[in-house]
């Protein structure tokens, strides 16, 4: 049962990702991206990462996707819902990427992965919290400064000429 659900979610994620990439209409792409992100969150649940799954939905879906749609709306003279854009070098790119995928696939199947089995934890939030404030304190602080910098930078950049 769980396997079936896993494969359904996986198929949904990959297919919607393909739709994001191949579709010519930007708004459709954005909506497809929503499904991909949700699918990824589902995969996280299968990977016992409840906190990451929650954050994925909150940040990606609630923040980044909204930002992307805003971007689409702000940079197009909207005459209809269909905001289309042509793609380029799809032939060559497709061939190269296909072979790239083949090699990746070969690598992940051939590689001797050292897997350590573990039991499912009750929740990851407590562990992540402890790690963030002990071992990963410095990256945590740095990433917060980075966020602040990005915030200010984005504000300055988009403020315009005045």
């Amino acid at each position: 049962m769980a396997d079936i659900v896993f494969w359904i979610i996986s198929a949904l994620t990959v297919m919607s990702a393909a739709f994001v990439v191949l579709n010519n209409q930007l708004v459709y792409s954005a909506v497809a991206l929503l499904f991909t992100l949700f699918g990824t969150a589902g995969l996280y649940v299968f990977l016992w990462a409840d906190f990451i799954a929650g954050i994925q939905i909150l940040v990606y879906v609630g923040g980044i996707l909204v930002l992307v749609i805003f971007g689409i709306m702000l940079t197009n003279k909207i005459k209809s819902v269909r905001i289309s854009h042509k793609s380029m070098q799809q032939g060559v790119g497709g061939v190269v990427i296909f072979w790239f995928f083949i090699f990746l696939f070969l690598a992940l199947t051939k590689a001797p992965w050292a897997v350590t089995e573990a039991i499912e934890p009750v929740g990851t939030v407590r562990g992540i919290g402890i790690l963030l404030l002990t071992d990963y304190l410095l990256p945590f602080e740095i990433i917060s400064v980075l966020l602040l910098g990005a915030l200010i930078g984005a504000a300055v950049l988009s403020r315009g000429d005045s």
Binding site: L26, I52, Q56, L74, L132, I143, L157
Partner: protein
């Protein structure tokens, strides 16, 4: 089939699709979406390796950091795109090749 390889297979597919998007799309925002796909693929790898390596949560931290980075990147990138649009009236990155002339 809940094994490591299946997750890696899915993430590599996501990665290749994202890369394809980055390479082929003209619209800067679409390129940005491709980048988000690549980041998601990387995140899946992190979390998957974390689970299949004794559930040690380090990968979760990295995934968290990547999400934060993606948010920051998206904000700055969109600001840049809007600026380009204001200045050049286009968001096609192949039109933005001032340096080549």
């Amino acid at each position: 089939m809940n094994s490591l390889e299946s997750y890696l297979f899915i993430s590599s597919m996501l990665f290749c699709l994202g890369l394809f998007g980055v390479i082929t799309r003209r619209n800067a925002i679409a390129v940005l979406m491709g980048v988000e796909l690549i980041l998601n693929a990387a995140n899946i790898n992190f979390v998957a390796f974390s689970k299949f390596n004794g559930m040690n949560l380090d990968g979760h931290i990295f995934a968290l950091l990547v999400i934060v980075l993606a948010a920051a990147e998206a904000a700055v990138a969109l600001a840049i795109i809007i600026n380009i649009y204001n200045n050049m009236n286009t968001v096609n990155i192949d039109d933005v090749s001032e340096l080549k002339r």
